[in-house]
């Protein structure tokens, strides 16, 4: 009989005593015993049989106990589904530890609309070891816990936000359309859901990952990029009510935080940037003025920084410099000799300098606590089984002041009943409530925390005229005064299903699911005042004056997302002549989703203590709304056939319709199929079986459609023009204008994903060693992309069409090993996968080259997705590379490159000129110039010529010649692909074991290769002027120039980490469209970030109390454990970048940090390293 997805086999146990006449010749005693599994959990329903006396058998009860009368010295045979059968001599109060069978081939694996024996799988389906990835460790986020769980599944978190959801991809990027959205379909209990965040990990029974077309095609239109199939725990027949409780308490700290150089070094480094005109200053605090105070401060504090918010003290004398110095009225620069300092000046609407130094990580960060509790209840009443669970968890962010907080409440109920033998029905209900609170800072804490060294924003307080302590305008001061915004998201999901078995071999299932996601968000800004060091404009000194956050508003938003899904499908299975197994499934599915959104904001709070939109009276208000819907439906069918389990065939077909396309292009048919050959079952293989227990070859091929190509791609829509683009008045207000109706392609249709997969599964030594390997190719055809360029007389750019193509090729390998040494079980697993995605077709005029992410939407045909273009760094320029040319008439001279050294003039922008100590790039094309292509290159009849080439002159004269743009594939000068930003060789391994109640599990996860070009201030010194520098930036080239332009002193060495200081290098230079960075920091090999890492993701150590002990307290199982996440990692860039290599996003930038002129890459919420402990008790 076919078992439905999410309907695991009900236990086949029945506690049947077998009173059997015993032979009198032997002493018969009653013995009791306990059967435990590898996790020391009771094995319920294990069969215990006296060897040789089949009728003397019992099953274990809910505590794993059994009682049996046997003759002395009898041998018991204990067997249990999924475990190795074992024999033991019967002794009183015996405990039997079962070893899981490595013969997992008969295990049922959830697949689309059904399940399949692992042995008979022909597609690429991986299962997650739920027990090890979730049950025994304190996971609260299912998606994050899946990182590294199966090969080919990529989970990335942009930052360590406690609220953020990670990005999930199966086998890499699948499409460039719709903002790269190629997320897999997540199916929970047979029905798609939008995200997994509402799931309670404790409720999860089983997770399968369907990777190739043949496996996922049955889910149709939304499953183009794989499926994650999740089944929740079901109610099963129980002989008692079972209650279990688990909890966990954790504390987290940032894995990596940047570390500023001490203030003195920070100022010195900035002052070493001698080439840019003007003084170094932040809002009028001149570094050279601050420096003597900072030196004295450092000396007086013994080189130690403040680690807390402290009361600031004014300058007293040079031997007691306090924390700030106030200028005499009317002055704003330090007088010569630093002498005329009057200690009596107080900070009173005067300009001042501050020079206290703070350790940011200790001043602002805390150990973030979190906890979770879960209770579940299972039982049977008559023919009805039920399972209820309640979960709660709470998390806190890492910042000390007003940390953000997340609370979740989750309820799950599953009930099923048997109406008749042939008719079962059930219902599942789940509800989750997620409440997130975060201070409304109106600026990004991380953006500013890592912007200037601590002295500028002053993490201190002074007393105001009323004697109240008053903080400064900084992350701490702002957060503690800000309103806590709150977002509440609830998810309710109701499902009812019926299963009919009208006759043998046939099952019909129908289900209907309604889900409702609702979000309410309240935010408000309340006025407050702080002291500040800021003044408008530079060159003016900081005033000691109140900083008033005067904005006050209340805003409210709400969305409601409802979806219903219906499935009806029937399966017929039959075995003919004991050899031909046939299974046919046919079904229909439909889904409709509706989304409504409303937002309103109004300024002018009436009462700051009641920040409610109804209590505002401002004239400035915003409202907006959105209402969308979509629908899909499809018919599907599957035929499975196998001959004696040796030759396996599966065919799938799905006919899908989607509302996202024009009526004429709405429906499409997508076929797929797979074959398998279990050669180990052939008779000729028998001699090898002793050590080679399993062998299967698989191959699959299939098409799936992707409908998620974005909204309104075939509908010409009209939108209002943004106010900033309206240049005409209607009275004293702007006129209302509409944008031109969008030009869309009239024939837009499905993207077609074609996947080929070849796999091999092997098992050795009674399947204690398993090996799985897959090679695959996934082509995305008819991918939505820009149409071919059209003449401008059209008046609009060519609309997106099904004009692009993408190809991903990759492989996956998994190994696992299980072994028992007496009482000890050990296991090891290893997974690795790799994929590269090539853009095989994309209209981009003349093949302009673009790096990863400089502007989403621009790609180059023939390139791998994620490629980063840049220069190859040669070395630092030395004195020997230049000749000094004295200036005329007393003017300063300059250094001119010697003949034969490639000219880098093209890269010079603004006032920057390459000189000794700067970066020298490699002249890859040997033309003596470093550039992004030859501006004089021409093309004639497909041949390219540059001046100096044979035939150039003739080609130039030919009227058919054409110019060739620079920065194109044909003409890219010294640029080359220096790296790729996509993670490659993602791997994980797990080592663990159990021994007499102790269990230990170590999980490692890593990325073998990944690069990133980012202009963050933690990577590029002073990417923007006046940015603080970090401890990794202390080693750089120094060059000192005299007034005549001649170098008077220098220290240039290849061993220095950085070239000469020159601030502002984070902006766009002469090759801006490739990626930001200029001066010494054009995208280049030397400062390309190596983001590969190996990380001890989790270590869990547990101890299960002996059952003999707990049984007395009626406890089935009690385990205590200790667990740590993100314990440590190996990272090639460690120390070099001061960033967690898993981090990918910058704060304050919409683009992922790549093209980020503000140097913000890395200035974001850090990932957490957590330590936790908890108990798990089952009654």
């Amino acid at each position: 009989m076919l078992l439905m997805a999410g309907m695991p086999a009900l236990g086949t146990f029945q506690a049947q005593a077998a009173p059997e006449p015993q032979q009198q010749s032997q002493t018969v005693t009653t013995i009791t015993g306990t059967v435990l599994d590898e996790n020391n959990e009771p094995a319920i329903g294990a069969s215990v049989v006296q060897k040789g006396v089949a009728r003397n058998a019992v099953s274990t009860d809910a505590f794993g106990h059994f009682t049996l009368r046997v003759p002395a010295g009898a041998v018991l045979q204990i067997s249990y589904v999924g475990y190795k059968s074992m024999e033991a001599v019967a002794t009183p109060d015996m405990t039997v530890y079962l070893q899981p069978t490595t013969e997992m081939l008969n295990e049922l694996v959830a697949i689309g609309y059904g399940s399949q024996k692992r042995a008979n799988l022909t597609g690429a389906v991986a299962t997650v070891d739920v027990a090890r990835t979730m049950d025994s460790r304190p996971a609260t986020d299912v998606a994050k816990a899946l990182q590294g769980a199966v090969p080919g599944l990529t989970i990335t978190s942009a930052n360590g936000s406690i609220e953020g959801a990670p990005t999930i991809n199966i086998r890499g990027l699948g499409t460039l359309s719709n903002s790269h959205n190629s997320a897999p379909l997540i199916v929970v209990d047979g029905v798609p859901v939008e995200d997994m965040s509402f799931l309670n990990p404790e409720d999860i029974e089983e997770i399968s990952v369907l990777k190739d077309a043949a496996s996922s095609a049955i889910y149709g239109s939304r499953a183009a990029f794989g499926v994650i199939l999740i089944s929740t725990k079901q109610a099963a027949v129980q002989d008692r009510v079972s209650v279990s409780y688990t909890n966990n308490f954790a504390w987290g700290r940032a894995t990596v935080l940047p570390e500023f150089q001490p203030l003195v070094q920070n100022l010195e480094t900035a002052l070493d940037d001698t080439r840019i005109g003007g003084d170094k200053e932040v809002f009028g605090m001149y570094y050279e003025d601050v420096l003597p105070f900072a030196r004295a401060w450092a000396q007086q504090h013994g080189g130690k920084q403040y680690t807390d918010i402290v009361e600031l003290r004014p300058f007293q004398s040079w031997s007691d410099v306090g924390d700030y110095w106030v200028f005499p009225a009317g002055t704003n620069r330090l007088p010569a000799g630093n002498s005329a300092v009057d200690p009596n000046y107080i900070m009173q609407s005067s300009r001042y300098l501050s020079y206290g130094d703070w350790d940011i990580s200790r001043t602002l960060f805390q150990a973030a606590p979190s906890s979770k509790h879960n209770v579940s209840l299972e039982g049977t009443s008559g023919r009805t089984n039920y399972r209820l669970s309640f979960g709660y968890d709470a998390k806190e962010g890492l910042l000390k002041q007003n940390p953000d907080k997340l609370h979740r409440y989750m309820v799950n109920a599953n009930v099923n009943t048997e109406i008749f033998k042939w008719w079962k029905a059930g219902a599942r209900l789940s509800f989750s409530d997620r409440e997130y609170e975060n201070p409304n800072e109106q600026r990004n804490a991380y953006q500013y925390m890592w912007r200037w060294p601590g002295f500028f924003e002053n993490y201190g307080y002074v007393y105001d005229e009323n004697g109240n302590p008053k903080q400064f305008r900084n992350t701490s001061g702002i957060r503690s005064n800000s309103h806590m915004d709150k977002t509440i998201t609830t998810m309710t999901r109701m499902q009812g299903y019926m299963i009919f078995n009208p006759f043998k071999g046939f099952t019909l299932q129908a289900d209907f699911t309604y889900s409702l996601r609702n979000q309410n968000s309240d935010s408000a800004a309340v006025p407050y005042s702080l002291y500040q060091t800021w003044t408008p404009g530079s060159g003016t000194l900081g005033n000691y004056e109140p900083y008033s956050q005067t904005t006050s508003y209340a805003a409210q938003s709400n969305y409601r997302d409802t979806m219903w899904t219906a499935n009806v499908f029937g399966t017929y299975a039959h075995t003919f002549a004991d050899a031909h197994n046939l299974k046919v499934m046919l079904g229909w599915t439909a889904e409709e989703e509706e989304y409504r959104y409303f937002y309103a904001k109004r300024n002018g709070l009436v009462d700051y203590n009641l920040p409610n939109i109804n209590l505002t009276n401002g004239t400035n208000y915003t409202t907006s709304g959105k209402h969308t819907h979509r629908a899909t439906t499809g018919f599907f069918g599957r035929i499975n056939y196998d001959y004696k389990g040796i030759y396996l065939v599966e065919l799938n077909g799905r006919y899908d319709g989607s509302s996202r396309f024009p009526a004429a292009d709405q429906w499409a048919f997508f076929p797929s199929g797979s074959l398998g050959y279990r050669f180990s079952e052939e008779s000729y293989f028998a001699p090898l079986k002793k050590w080679w227990s399993n062998g299967k070859l698989r191959a699959s091929y299939g098409h799936i459609g992707n409908e998620a190509v974005g909204d309104n791609m075939f509908l010409s829509t009209v939108s209002a023009m943004a106010d900033s683009k309206i240049y005409w008045l209607n009275g004293n207000q702007k006129l209302v204008m509409y944008n031109m109706p969008t030009l869309v392609s009239s024939s837009l249709t499905w993207e077609r994903i074609v996947t080929t997969d070849v796999g091999l599964d092997l098992g050795f030594l009674d399947n204690s060693i398993n090996v799985g390997f897959d090679w695959y190719q996934r082509e995305t055809k008819d991918m939505l992309g820009p149409g071919a360029k059209l003449p401008a007389v059209l008046g609009a750019s060519a609309p997106y069409q099904n004009a692009g193509e993408l190809r991903t090729r990759g492989w996956e390998l998994s190994l696992n090993w299980n072994h028992s040494f007496g009482d000890a079980d050990v296991y090891a697993t290893f997974n690795i996968g790799d994929a590269r995605t090539k853009i095989t077709k994309w209209n981009n005029g003349d093949d302009q080259i673009y790096s990863y992410l400089p502007s989403l939407g621009n790609y180059t045909q023939g390139q791998y997705f994620g490629d980063i273009w840049g220069f190859e760094t040669d070395r630092y320029f030395t004195m020997d590379d230049f000749n000094f040319v004295p200036g005329a008439d007393g003017a300063a001279g300059n250094y001119v490159l010697k003949d034969g050294i490639p000219d880098q003039t093209f890269l010079q922008t603004d006032a920057f000129r390459y000189g000794p100590g700067d970066i020298k790039f490699k002249d890859l094309n040997g033309d003596g110039v470093i550039n992004d292509g030859n501006p004089d290159m021409i093309m004639l009849n497909g041949k390219y010529f540059v001046p100096g080439d044979a035939g150039y002159e003739e080609a130039l004269k030919n009227p058919n010649h054409k110019g060739v743009n620079t920065r194109t594939l044909a003409n890219h000068g010294d640029l080359k692909v220096i790296g790729n930003a996509m993670p490659r060789f993602e791997y994980s391994f797990r080592l663990g074991g159990a021994w007499k109640g102790f269990d230990l599990d170590l999980f490692f996860q890593g990325v073998g290769k990944r690069d990133m070009w980012a202009t963050g201030s933690t990577i590029i010194p002073m990417a923007q002027s006046a940015l603080g520098t970090f401890t990794n930036m202390s080693s750089y080239n120094h060059v000192t120039y005299g007034a005549d332009g001649k170098i008077t002193d220098y220290q240039i060495s290849e061993s220095n980490t950085y070239p000469r200081m020159y601030s502002g290098a984070g902006g766009a230079g002469a090759v801006g469209s490739i990626g930001n960075g200029r001066y010494n920091f054009y995208p280049q090999s030397r400062y390309l970030m190596n983001m590969s890492y190996l990380r001890l993701k989790n270590i869990t150590f547990g101890y299960t109390l002996p059952v003999e002990l707990t049984r007395k307290a009626l406890i089935q199982k009690a385990r205590i454990y200790f667990s740590a996440d993100n314990v440590c990692f190996l990272h090639n860039g460690a120390g070099k970048y001061q960033l967690d290599p898993e981090m990918s996003t910058a704060s304050g930038s919409s683009v992922q940090g790549y093209n980020d002129g503000n140097g913000t890459f890395g200035r974001t919420i850090p990932l957490q390293r957590t330590f936790s402990f908890g108990v798990q008790v089952t009654l």
């Binding site: 939108s719 240049y727 059209l790 007389v793 059209l794």
Partner: protein, 571 residues
């Protein structure tokens, strides 16, 4: 019994399937996005809001921090600067160009409205009114294209990418396109419902634009094509259209009020829209929508000032040119106190429009001058630009980008009168009455003695400076046009083009166009001079070639469409 349930379930499933198609199509359309479809065009507000976008195309003084068509367009003989020294718009064939692409985008916008209105259920009068506005705007797009490129592909409806014949079609002869423009404008003139409206498209504006198109094509036919009949026809169109509306736009009393007035009364002027001369204007409002012309034309880092050539083009107040005037015709200012060179005396005897266009002091690198509401500034030619600065603006408003809020005239009486006068003079139909009607008010306003002014006076002026090879009458009308409309709306450049006088922009033949003020008497020496005149060339030259009459067709368009041909002289 089993079977009943079974069949029941199947029937249920079957029923659901039946509704599939509707179910998908009912969900196809977004509920909160506006879709362009026939219903869209039945709503007058939609049409109006779509048409409103056309106004964005009139740059005037500029938008925000951007540059505009007044003052900022310096490819002419009136202005010279350091940064702003302008070579020909194109000296090489560009790989792509907004000069070609942008008008087609605007034309598409107009064609979409025209196509949408064709089947609209709006009342005929309302529909025709909108249709007129869209066609007026389409005419503007094509006029921009023809002036730049000559022959251009003519697209009469919003194309679909599939319409390859039209997309990849050849260039339409310029005459055909000009006729098409005229037809659109005539339609607009007789269908737009507003006759007068300073801030919106009106039928009078359509007529004013016919005057522009008429004198352009009239001159082009005459001086480039030698086609007397076509010239006469188009000048005739200009005269008819111009005279139909001229009476409604009398010349106002104060020349400066045209450039310095605000949207509402204040700042020393009545609101620009109340100015009787205004046909069409671009309004600015403090704090809502502003420009930067005041900031740029009173900048502390070198204004693109008036040239010697422009300065010399003004008549003296006795109505005579330098050659014949009896007034003091020196062009050297006098030292005036501390580090200042006054030209007040020079301005007093010249056409008063000059005094309203520049400052009474000369200032240049090394000798700055502080204006009524500016910090120390200097002009690259010595002659600053005072024309667009309302001196009631605070120094902060005057010297900060995107803080100016005086309004910009786009079509107004003087511009109209000069078009009519030129058309009549070219067609030989200008009478004494016409001179009294169209020229005299301008001379009067400029403080020029008009006691002798009549047709004969102009025809016999015979200024030896006339280097355009035209009659004295035509020369004087062109002079009046240049002085009246100096630095306005890029008019001078297109005048030189249509008159076939673009060689006047050759700096080697006409060195005066890169020279500035006579600083012989200046208290602060300046070594960058030619003789006594400030040299603004900075070593740069602009050489004329015939090919510059037309822009080169951008390379990408030629690559995409092999039927397109390049303009003569461009490679």
């Amino acid at each position: 019994m089993k079977k009943i349930y079974f069949i029941g379930a199947l029937a249920l499933a079957g029923m659901s399937l039946a509704g599939c198609n509707d179910f998908l199509n009912d969900n196809r359309f977004p509920l909160s996005d506006q879709i362009e479809n026939p219903m869209f065009w039945n709503n007058g507000m939609n049409v109006e809001n779509q048409i409103n976008t056309f106004y964005n195309d009139f740059l005037g003084y500029g938008n925000g921090t951007g540059s505009g068509d007044f003052y900022f367009k310096t490819l002419n003989d009136d202005q010279c600067g350091r940064r702003e020294f302008t070579d020909w718009t194109f000296v090489t064939v560009p790989s792509s160009s907004g000069s070609w692409n942008d008008p087609y985008e605007e034309i598409r916008r107009a064609n979409i409205v025209i196509g949408g209105l064709a089947n609209s259920t709006l009342p005929a009068s309302e529909r025709d009114n909108y249709m007129g506005q869209a066609r007026l705007y389409r005419a503007k797009g094509y006029f921009d294209l023809v002036r730049r490129y000559g022959d251009v592909p003519l697209v009469e409806k919003a194309l679909d990418p599939a319409e390859e014949a039209a997309l990849f079609g050849p260039r339409t002869p310029r005459a055909e396109v000009m006729d098409f423009i005229l037809e659109d404008l005539k339609y607009a003139a007789s269908n737009i419902s507003d006759q007068k409206n300073a801030n919106k498209f009106s039928s009078d504006l359509a007529n004013a634009m016919i005057v522009e198109v008429g004198i352009y094509e009239g001159a082009y036919a005459k001086y480039h094509l030698n086609d007397a009949a076509r010239s006469k026809q188009y000048y005739g169109e200009a005269i008819t259209a111009g005279e139909a509306i001229a009476g409604r736009y009398p010349i106002c009393a104060d020349y400066t009020s045209l450039y310095k007035s605000l949207r509402t009364d204040g700042g020393g002027y009545t609101a620009l829209e109340k100015n009787p001369e205004i046909i069409f204007m671009k309004a600015y409002e403090q704090g809502v929508f502003m420009h930067s012309i005041v900031d740029y034309s009173s900048a502390s880092d070198g204004i693109a000032g008036l040239t010697k050539d422009a300065f010399d083009s003004y008549l003296f107040i006795d109505g005579r040119p330098a050659a014949t005037t009896t007034l003091d015709k020196t062009d050297a200012g006098v030292a005036d106190g501390d580090a200042a060179l006054s030209i007040q005396g020079l301005l007093d005897v010249r056409d008063q429009r000059l005094a309203m266009t520049t400052y009474p002091n000369v200032f240049y690198p090394g000798m700055t001058w502080t204006g009524p509401n500016t910090a120390a500034m200097y002009s690259q030619t010595g002659y600053g630009v005072a024309k667009f600065d309302n001196w009631t603006f605070s120094a902060n408003d005057a010297q900060t980008a995107n803080r100016g809020y005086n309004c910009c005239p786009l079509y107004w009486g003087a511009r109209l009168y000069l078009g009519i006068a030129e058309a009549k003079a070219e067609n030989g139909t200008l009478t004494d009455a016409d001179v009294a009607k169209y020229i005299k008010p301008l001379w009067d306003r400029a403080g020029i003695d008009t006691s002798n002014l009549n047709l004969a006076w102009l025809a016999n002026m015979n200024d030896p400076a006339n280097d355009m090879g035209v009659s004295s009458l035509i020369w004087e009308i062109r002079r009046c046009r240049r002085c009246e409309l100096i630095m306005d709306d890029n008019i001078r450049y297109w005048d030189l083009v249509r008159w076939h006088q673009l060689d006047k922009l050759d700096t080697t033949k006409n060195p005066d166009i890169v020279l500035g003020a006579n600083i012989a008497n200046a208290p602060v020496a300046y070594d960058n001079v030619v003789g006594n005149y400030i040299n603004c060339s900075y070593g740069r030259t602009r050489k004329f070639e015939d090919k510059y009459y037309l822009y080169p067709v951008p390379g990408d368009q030629l690559d995409l469409n092999e039927k397109l041909t390049q303009n003569p002289g461009w490679k």
